[in-house]
Symmetry: C2
Subunit: 481 residues, 2 copies
């Protein structure tokens, strides 16, 4: 009996244990020396396999999700070694569990025939998931190795855009005719010796194949065998369309406590089912994509063991944008060099408003991201939030700008500095509230991901505006007074 809390601790010590086993073989240096040789060929040799028999035995006993955890926590060369020791029948399940970043490193070393074996143990929707990470040639080879039925389903799954219900659904559902009795269905289930792993409800269709409703397993248990399906089926289940947004489906699963729901196409023909485990995966992926995307990172960058040079290069696009925006801020400050030269204290105080503005903008941004993900925010109330965030900015600018004004007065004994501080805080916080809402909304209008890099953009804009407002007002005050 495994227990989750201890289970996790076990997983961490498992990674350590595996590292120790590899070390004990004193083979690591050897492996590293043979960098050019395909790691895989190396371990395929019987002698090497024998050396790692204890390790292989250990890995054989693990759940694919646990193997995935171990692989993600090993440096590249050890990851390849352990991967080559994994039983081929687990390949598919493990590949589906690891993060995209780690999956790429595993696929690199695999041969076509191994991929075909891996696909053998996978559902067609899972194969489709895997396909998106393959090179075009490998994908074509894999596709041609499948049976006709599977191939059609994989193609169909691939045709649904990412983020739709079609791309998440499971093709493998049990159809039951609406005219059957419960006993007839039970007989068929017994003949099959069980349900597909992910099935939680049976799909009722009429004799033309059109979807009519669902039959819960529970109904089969509590009603007499001679009851017709049509009497106990659910004729109005929540149904999804293949082109529904996955995000909406996730909200529905959460709100209505769904476990499994039918998916139909535009002609009301049953295409498959959407199951809660796919929704759970989708939610976790989305939440992590948002977390990383906000600061301009991709999921690929989360592999702890990816080479530094590669990881550094991944950050260049957003770093360039970041520098560009910061450079604009520098140019703006440059316009006020005469003012700064006259009152050097301005240079010391100007980052305060910019910094506070940046954080306030990111607070507004977080509220927008939350609202978009829960569907609370839409076109009609977005301006309501912007107005509220701007009002909060003015209120807090009044209060805390005053506090900072007093601090500036105490520090420099210059009333004009205090005035500049007060006004700059109000205007900057006002602009921050507006920017925090407008940036994601504008990105969305432009057809871009409203979250991607929005934090970097907002910090850039609030910095630039913060300096401009502070120094511009200072220039006015010191020129006139």
């Amino acid at each position: 009996m495994s227990q989750s809390g201890k289970h996790q601790v076990k997983l961490e010590s498992l990674v350590q244990h595996i590292n120790t086993l590899i070390d004990r073989q004193e083979l690591v240096s050897n492996i590293v020396d043979k960098q050019e040789m395909r790691r895989h060929d190396l371990v395929q040799s019987l002698v090497e396999r024998e050396k790692y028999s204890e390790l292989r035995h250990l890995i054989d006993q693990l759940h694919p999700a646990d193997i995935a955890f171990v692989l993600e926590n090993l440096p590249l060369d050890r990851r390849q070694l352990v991967w080559s020791l994994v039983d081929k029948s687990h390949y598919g399940a493990v590949l589906l569990e690891v993060s995209n970043a780690v999956r790429e490193t595993l696929l690199e070393g695999m041969q076509h025939d191994e991929l075909v074996v891996a696909a053998d143990n996978m559902d067609s929707d899972e194969i489709a998931d895997l396909m998106t990470g393959l090179t075009p040639e490998t994908a074509r080879d894999l596709l041609s190795s499948l049976g006709e039925n599977d191939r059609e389903q994989v193609k169909s799954a691939l045709s649904f855009p990412e983020g739709t219900v079609g791309a998440l659904m499971d093709f493998d559902v049990i159809h039951v005719p609406i005219d059957d009795t419960l006993d007839q269905i039970l007989g068929r289930l017994r003949y099959r010796r069980g349900l597909p792993a992910d099935s939680r409800v049976l799909m009722v269709v009429d004799n033309k194949g059109f979807f009519q409703g669902t039959l819960e397993l529970e109904a089969l248990l509590i009603h007499p065998g001679e009851t017709p399906v049509s009497e106990v089926m659910n004729r109005e289940p929540i149904v999804f369309h293949t082109n529904d947004e996955a995000r909406d489906a996730a909200t529905a699963f959460k709100g209505y406590d769904l476990i499994s729901a039918p998916v139909v196409n535009a002609h009301n023909r049953l295409m498959g089912s959407l199951n809660v485990d796919a929704v759970l995966d989708y939610m976790q992926q989305t939440s992590q994509k948002n977390l990383l995307g906000q600061v301009g990172l991709h999921e690929e960058e989360s592999d702890l063991f990816s080479p530094i040079w590669q990881a550094a290069k991944h950050r260049w696009p957003w770093l360039t944008l970041n520098l560009l925006v910061a450079f604009i801020a520098a140019l703006i400050i440059g316009q006020f060099e005469a003012t700064i030269a006259a009152v050097v204290a301005l240079a010391a105080l100007m980052p305060i408003t910019a910094n506070v503005g940046g954080n306030a903008g990111n607070q507004s941004l977080a509220l927008v991201i939350r609202g978009l993900s829960t569907k609370q925010l839409n076109r009609s109330n977005m301006m309501l939030l912007a107005r509220k965030e701007m009002s909060i900015g003015v209120v807090n600018g009044l209060i805390w700008g005053g506090v900072m004004g007093v601090a500036a007065l105490v520090l420099y004994g210059d009333l004009r500095l205090a005035l500049v501080m007060q006004v700059a805080m109000i205007v900057t916080l006002f602009v921050a509230g507006l920017t925090g809402v407008l940036v994601p909304v504008t990105l969305k209008r432009l057809g871009l991901d409203p979250i991607l890099g929005s934090s970097i953009l907002i910090t850039g804009i609030t910095d630039t505006m913060g300096f401009f407002i502070f120094l511009g007002f200072a220039a006015l005050v010191y020129a006139t007074v």
Copy 2:
């Protein structure tokens, strides 16, 4: 047949429709005038109820999750009005669906007896969820109104700390004796006319009440009725302890594709079950808590319609910290006023390193938060990530510091400025990588939430350090050359 994609669109237009219905009664101004009168009493009067009969009819047909959506999207006075029209039997379900912020506004206007009615339709774990938002007196009253069995379960649920499996689990499970046959169990299920809403598996116990394993509903369907439970039960299901971390359980549900799992206490006595709908709720809440917590916001601040003054006050604690850190940065810059006065260009260029450092620090932070939530990061590999982030900082500092150095050279024709820019970028990005990892880790060591406000702290530290490094090195260069 409802369809989710259209469903959401429907929900948004539903909110509009409800607003129109209220407007049409031309009662809103009237309601607003009577601010002092309890909204609730107002609508309780038959006359008023009659006026809103169309609205009430509409609301009666909605799923509690949809009512919750509508309530969250209405301003306070309209929210109270619609809430008073909701059928009392739905109170419990709606209260559980709305966000904490909105729940508070609904509970404010409720009377004790209404709460008791609401609790009547709730499971004890749900009542416990609700209790955490009540005033102590209301909570006590509610508790005393429950039957003894329910009261004990609610107390027990409340005794589990937030974030543990015990606090998420469902008490309502079906026990089956290990010595029974499948037919005996089927008979009992038919007598009950169904399973509890959340039950997906049956719990097998021995005659002393100790947990022995689970029986899948599927087993009841595919095996002959005379089969003993002991033959077809799952003796090694994944089991959780009441004090396991909810986060670990969520990872296990995702990895092992669980729908429902038994929960036992330290004495291996069955306490309840953990179901995927609770895990889904937990995951969504956590993801939003992290999103908001990072920038120092609480979930309570996400109510679009909370008063501005209240919302502004909520931001004070972090704003104070933010200003304090920014003020320290200002004091540091103040130390270099002589250098800035001599070379004013420094004032223009110094925010570049600070800004880039802030964003880089937040990128490292996002990777830490992701790693903590997937359990990829732990004490043993945290320094590995810190080293990697620092290395990336040095690599990118070398390259992009060089680029910015050239830009400074072109702009100001001063080689010393270019040198300062180059060195400051390398050191600042190095510090940013270290800070992005160290801040959440330190918060965690101090027993604080590693995510709460970490973004504000990191921006503050990278700003301060960015200015110090840039100006400090500039002071050295210009003093000596």
